[in-house]
Amino acid sequence: MSTADERTPVLEVFGVTKTFPGVVANEDVDFTLHQGEIHCLLGENGAGKSTLMNVVFGLYQPDQGTIKVRGEQVQMEGVHDAIDHGIGMVHQHFQLIPVFTVAENVILGDELTNGPFLDLKEARRRIREIEEKYGLAVDPDIKVGDLSVGEQQRVELVKALFREADILILDEPTAVLTPGEVDDFFGVVRSLVDQGKSIIFITHKLREVLAVADRITVLRGGKVAGTADPKTATQQSLANLMVGRDVVFQVEKGEAKPGEPVLRIKNLAVEDDRGVQTVNGFSVEVRAGEIFGIAGVEGNGQRELVEAVTGMRHNVGGTVEILGINATKLPPRKITELGTAHIPEDRNKHGLVGSYTIADNLVLNRYHHESFARRWIRDHHAIHKEAESLVKQYDVRTPAVQVPVNTLSGGNQQKVIVARELTGEVEVLFVSQPTRGLDVGSIEFIHNQIIALRDRGAAVLLVSAELDEILSLSDRIGVLYRGRLVGTFEGKEATREQLGYLMATGATPESEQAS
């Protein structure tokens, strides 16, 4: 504690308030970053972490408050001011241009020129220099679209370092990495600090905070909820600070009573939009009354797998059998009619029609059923009645069922989807990233709904990038690596370390040694 205070502050934020129409994203926030420290900014989704950092980076103009860089008060009128003051930011969603090369991505906005023309040769040399200095190897001439996610993150870091940033803001940098890669990444972060950089590390993962932080600031509902010292803080104390009440880590869940296999996938092969076969000989059997969780680093075929079994994407090989019926080539509606439901990964893209009312969204996949349409004439009255009852049952907070669904919060939107999907006879549920970006209350609600469905005897195939979610919900866990299952575990026996190693390498330590 005392050592940090003796250091000089390089970035100070005083009383920043930022509102968006209808939302106060930041309210009177103070924040200080010292020279050579890793300062973690911790908070739930929607707590205002990214907003605060976008204010610091000049992307947003604060309504109130001041920012000081190295003791000097500055006005951030745009990103270029932040860059000029030596601030660099690696965004949660990478800000890269896939059709440009690494070098073009790095120099964009700060181009090296030779006369009127771009000097890519000098750019390459400078990039290689940076890469060697910080151990971030990427070929400057490769198109960014051909790089893996981890490599793209390195390009983002090189971009910031190329601009000679010495204050680095890393926004949820580990979300896309495997547990093993996270450790490597922490190594990179520490070497950056050794070279004199100061780092703001944004995350909502408690374990990472304790592993890497020199100092912790917790945001809740747009305000500073408190600061903590990683040497004395525990996960439980941080979680309570983050959520504002006592948090139960473990989901309440009874013993599974698995029945017959109702979902059989054999040797499934699926291509992604670019024609690359991302699911490659995937096989699994899921029994009635159990939750089968699929763990894996994003981009290992999860999306294509779920889209293929729900009929949204053609598969190029293998079979899918649902409730004893061959569903391999069936379209989405036929698969739904077998008694399945699907909570999709991207609720805005797939799950909802934003400008439709809540009522229309609640019958989005059943509008043609007898109860909502006489032959081909829609029955608005019946739809309205159904919507009213579902909104009550699933606790969707809304003034009326006739308001557009895009006026709801993320949690309530997800509840609309869950309400629609879990209504009726559901014997197999496909669910993908069910709680991404939600607050703790909504997460608990949705987890309980999924478990309740299992207890009613449905089979659940759960895909999630959150290892904690997989571990707390699943009765069995499979690890997806390069489009196939590389290992399955009983939910109670699996450990983070085991899963993490498999997710990163596709093999267990023993088998690696054997070969």
Binding site: K349, H350, V353, Y356, W376, I377, R378
Partner: protein, 385 residues
């Protein structure tokens, strides 16, 4: 102080305006109405610049549009094809598609209608069959010419704006050849001085309502009936729901089990069918033959009219009548006030501009509320979803 006086006046005016708006529930119509007023003001300035009293010019224009029962009939007659092309655009908009190909669909529909109308056995067929056959022929011609870009969009992702632009040119050269060619002689009427098809059979001619210029015929009832039919389909049927859902979010539609490709193909084909029907009604009711030049710009004007009507099938009727009457009335303005008929074109462009960029109108007239819903068609660029 004058400032506060102005303020009070402003407020009372605003209150007065609001009472009228509320009484007649004009809220959704405000932007189009203001857009039209603004466009006429700009047109008036142009007219004044060339040294003509704008009020004289507009008075002549209004008399040209509605000055006598004949002129009213002529204006209505001029509006009929616009109803069809605007419906074509509006329906495609609802499905999230931008059918720039109404121009070509009109040509193909008009040609097929005229071709079927000149078949020998048509002369012995009573009108109650012959007229629907000719209209159906035009409808099918347009349907096919709209189906092609729909199928291309669904199968290969080729953006319908690009493929319909290509198909417009292909249709233009194709029908031009069919109608121009003397050797071999295909559809040309060799006795006519301009390239056109032969006269269709008398039995296939839509009954005339008024001998105006152009003549008003029963086609107007056909087109208005189609407007109401489409309104009902979009508002109350499952097919309409599916179409609008695909237009708003094709990904969610696919997820929800709607056959997105089928909707895209059907929307484009039906869109073409509306254009083809309009062309057939023109061929059957107005000209009694097919001449490619008569359909120039009707498809492009359909874009503007559909936007003016916010893609609402009922609103298309008054919007088309406004559009057609302006064009029908302009010659009198030229004759009496010596103002080029192109002023009307400029006014029309301005109307479209202000309706599309309603933020300008809302700012100028200090209207409350957020910008209205925009038509999201083709907002994703050229390469498909």
């Amino acid at each position: 102080m004058t400032g506060s006086g102005n303020n009070r006046l402003d407020r009372s005016l605003a209150g007065f305006r609001q009472r009228i708006v509320d009484a007649w529930s004009l809220q959704p119509l405000l932007v189009p109405i203001y857009a039209i007023i603004l466009s006429f003001i700009i047109g008036g300035v142009l007219i004044a610049i060339i040294g003509v009293n704008p009020f004289d010019a507009y008075w002549a224009l209004v008399r040209g549009m509605f000055g006598s029962s004949d002129r009213i009939a002529g204006s209505l007659a001029r509006s009929v094809p616009f109803i069809g092309s605007a419906l074509a655009l509006a329906f495609a908009f609802k499905a999230g598609l931008f059918n720039i190909g109404a121009e070509g669909q009109l040509l193909v529909g008009g040609l097929t209608a005229a071709w079927v109308g000149t078949w020998a056995w048509m002369t012995d067929t009573p009108g109650i069959f012959a007229i629907p056959i000719v209209l159906l022929a035009g409808l099918i011609g347009g349907f096919v010419w709209g189906w092609i870009p729909g199928e291309l969009r669904a199968r290969t992702g080729a953006h319908e704006v690009i493929s319909t632009i290509m198909l417009n040119s292909i249709a233009l050269f194709g029908v031009r050849w069919l109608v121009n060619s003397r050797d071999p002689l295909i559809l040309r009427d060799t006795t006519a001085s301009v390239p056109r098809t032969q006269q269709i059979s008398d039995t296939a001619i839509l009954p005339e309502l008024a001998d105006s210029n152009p003549n008003l015929h029963m086609g107007i009832f056909v087109m208005i009936a189609v407007c109401f039919l489409l309104w009902f389909v979009l508002r109350r049927t499952t097919f309409g729901f599916e179409t609008i859902t695909v237009g708003l979010n094709p990904h969610a539609s696919h997820y929800a089990g709607i056959n997105v490709n089928r909707i895209i193909v059907m929307a484009m084909a039906l869109s073409g069918a509306f254009a083809g029907l309009a062309a057939a009604s023109e061929v059957s009711g107005t000209n009694q033959f097919f001449q490619p030049g008569t359909f120039a710009f009707i498809g492009f004007d359909g874009i503007a009219i559909a936007l003016l009507a916010r893609a609402n099938p009922i609103a298309i009727i008054p919007a088309s009548i406004l559009w057609g009457s302006l064009l029908a009335g302009a010659p009198l303005m030229q004759q009496e006030a010596d103002v080029s008929i192109d002023v009307v074109r400029i006014i029309q462009a301005m109307v479209l501009l202000f309706v599309a960029a309603d933020a300008i109108v809302r700012y100028l007239f200090r209207m409350r509320g957020e910008a209205g819903p925009h038509i999201e068609a083709a907002a994703t660029g050229w390469s498909g979803p």
